[in-house]
């Protein structure tokens, strides 16, 4: 279908304004970085138009003009940006604006589309992709910016001139070293690794049971119960945290005083329970969603074959709702692992978790160790999610649920 659409050259009245807009957009960033956004827009637009005219009307050689353009912007970037990095940006931009000009001029943008689309539909087709790309960029860039900064040789959140020149002296692993050798960071990392998994196990067990119970049609007032169970997700965290602080203080005093438990142990119990409460709604919601697609006649069939309810649950129901349980568990884990408000209230210093340490670190001492930790956490999250996804696909394949 694609190659059948005939393409033809487009008039300059379409090409030039569009190229000018693209050039102006890029000029806006360069101009803003150098003091005047407006001037940047004007120069960027003018440059793009003039070059487009020269290449298309005078030079008339696409391959040659491509290399001229790439070299030109590379040199511009090197001279005005003063370094390797701006030069690379210049090279990329030079390639892009040249490709863009010819893409418009030769009408190549229609080549892969259906022949009967109106210009409006073509415009929307590409705008839609640009919007999606922009959303993706805005979501990802803040995370990506952090990563090079974590290799900063200085103790500030600053792209130093050495870093921008890609000079090895501007980079160092010392913030990673700090994370792995600093007692405070190691202790909080260990605490997070203790608290989050236990809280997850508790929320998954209780949340799954609650979801199954609430999905039975004969439970009285199940909507009200559901609302109460979900409430930790809806009530502002600071309010639940304040309530939890007073509630768990009493429980903690009782456990220490009457039962004679050790203070540190009681502290962990309090934080784990508080985090489990926060995680339960996520498990309930995901498991309830999977239970909608669960066929009740399977449990009746199991009972018919002589299985007791416990066996039925573990052998029949659990395997089928497992994806919901696992994703609920992941959410519960992330909630606990990322949580800072409740632990600040309920925990004492011996239960300091990683987010707590990052929070105080950010406020009291802006140290790039925080960025190093953030980078490590992002890497761990990607690995974790990728592993879960791969396991899920593997089990689907094994059970013959997916066609591949």
């Amino acid at each position: 279908m694609a190659a059948l659409t005939p393409i033809s050259r487009k008039p300059m009245s379409l090409v030039l304004p569009t190229v000018a807009a693209a050039g102006g957009f890029f000029g806006l960033f360069v101009g803003t970085a150098n003091g005047s956004g407006l001037l940047g827009v004007l120069i960027g637009a003018a440059l793009a138009v003039v070059l487009a005219l020269v290449y298309v009307s005078v030079l008339k050689n696409e391959a040659l003009s491509k290399w001229i353009n790439i070299a030109l912007f590379g040199v511009l970037g090197y001279v005005f940006g003063g370094g390797i990095a701006p030069a690379i940006i210049g090279l990329v931009y030079g390639w892009f604006i040249h490709w863009f000009t010819y893409w418009l001029y030769e009408g190549r943008y229609r080549a892969r589309l259906l022949p009967y689309l109106t210009p409006g539909q073509v415009l929307w087709h590409y705008s839609f992709r640009v919007i999606c790309g922009a959303i993706f960029t805005f979501l990802i860039t803040p995370i990506l910016v952090v990563m090079p900064l974590s290799f900063n040789a200085q103790d500030f959140f600053t792209f130093t001139p050495e870093m921008l020149r890609l000079d090895p002296a501007g980079y160092s692993l010392k913030h990673y070293q700090d994370f792995f050798t600093n007692n405070e960071w190691q202790r909080s990392f260990k605490n997070s690794l203790i608290i989050a998994p236990i809280a997850t196990v508790i929320s998954v067990s209780l949340g799954t049971l609650a979801a199954i119970g609430l999905s039975q049609s004969h439970v009285p007032g199940r909507r009200a119960i559901m609302a109460v169970m979900i409430s930790p997700m809806i009530v502002p965290l600071i309010i639940s945290a304040t309530g939890m602080f007073f509630f768990y203080s009493q429980i903690g005093n009782w456990m220490e005083g009457t039962l004679g438990f050790n203070k540190t142990f009681v502290g962990y119990v309090k934080v784990v329970l508080a985090h489990a409460v926060l995680g339960i709604p996520f498990v309930i919601i995901t498991v309830t969603a999977t239970l909608v697609g669960f066929d009740r006649s399977l449990t009746r069939a199991a009972a018919n074959m002589g299985a007791n309810p416990v066996t039925t649950f573990f052998r029949v129901q659990m395997p089928l709702i497992l994806p919901g349980v696992i994703s609920g568990g992941l959410f519960a884990f992330i909630t606990s692992f990322d949580e800072v408000v409740v632990v600040l209230f309920v925990g004492s210093a011996s239960q300091k978790t990683l987010p707590w340490q990052m929070f105080t670190g950010l406020r009291e001492q802006i140290s790039p160790t925080i960025l190093a930790v953030a980078t490590i956490l992002v890497a761990i999250s990607i690995l974790l999610l990728a592993t879960v996804e791969m396991l899920r696909r593997r089990s689907e394949r094994l059970r013959g649920m997916s066609p591949s």
Binding site: Q154, D155, F156, F157, T158, E184, K190, I194, P197, I198, V201, I202, S205, F245, F246, S249, Q250, G252, N253, N262, K263, T264, F265, G267, Y268, S348, A349, S350, K352, T360, G361, R363, E364, Q365, I366, S367
Partner: protein
Amino acid sequence: MKTKLTALAVTTALVAPAAMAQEMTIVSWGGAYSKSQLKAYHEPYTAKTGVSIINDDSSAEAVAKLRAMNEAGNVTWDVVDVVAADAMRLCDEGLAMEIDPDTMLAAAPDGTSAADDFGDLLVSECFIPQIVYSTTFGYRTDLVGDTPPTKICDVFDTAAYPGKRSLEKRPINNMEWALLCDGVAKEDVYDVLATPEGQDQALAKLDTIKDDVIWWSAGADTPQLLADGEVIMGSTYNGRLFSVIEEQKQPVAMLWDAQVFDLDGWIIPAGLSEERQKQALDYIMFATDTQRLADQAKYISYGPARKSSAPLVGKHADLGIDMAPHMPTDPNNAKNTFLYNYEFWADYRDDIDAKFQAWLAK
């Protein structure tokens, strides 16, 4: 279920060793300051007594948290580092225990009693002073032209020093500096500031630079802004500036003129069990003796609160430079200092705060 049991067993195993040794929680400000306390006080104390110390960097919200803890009957802190003004509030509310300097604090090596050694710095019955710090300005040496600023009023001179400045997002210090630079004599500043007209005068002076100000709220902000070159000058605690200049080697210099002195020190929360209180007092006795206070100055450029510690201040532990010239109390730096008036701010803080915030929002 099996995983759950294993997980519980693991936790118990991890928790158990901590239960054997004695532990205390000490609250402080975090960053380089907590590190200096760790090196000068905590590590020697643990070596001497075997008590392990857990740091909690919560001093910024110490007053609110102590109130909540007290209400819940669950005070988890043993010793808390606060500024003098907070110590006074906590003492007034009965949240901190009173300290008798003569029996609870160590005497100086020459036999001078602790009360005399600390002298005027014992501003509250509950407060054991630790350091004298100052809030002052630093400027970028490469961004202020050929004549670097020498006077506090250069901060208000946007014609001679164009560029952004960072000031703390609260009236304290800013109002005083504004009046000083609006022609009010140093000794009259608080009298003028007590009147509504004086407050308006100070805000009017601040108005002249409002467009050029970036407001900070955490001590680490100004160092970061200076390092970025986003501001050409900014106020912060002198120890932070020392770290920017000497440890991070940034092109920054000190402007000591009209630096405002303040005190920071320990309190012991009220309502501790007898055993924990004894422990806390033992720590305080150790950590505020003459040698320990002088030791802290090896790691951060704050002046020790005891008179007898001053001659013992030596060189920086890592850099090997003399610390005395970097102390806010050094005669060269303290040519023109400004004394922070606790009583005034205790009385007027709420009113002026409200006015200041309204002005900020305008």
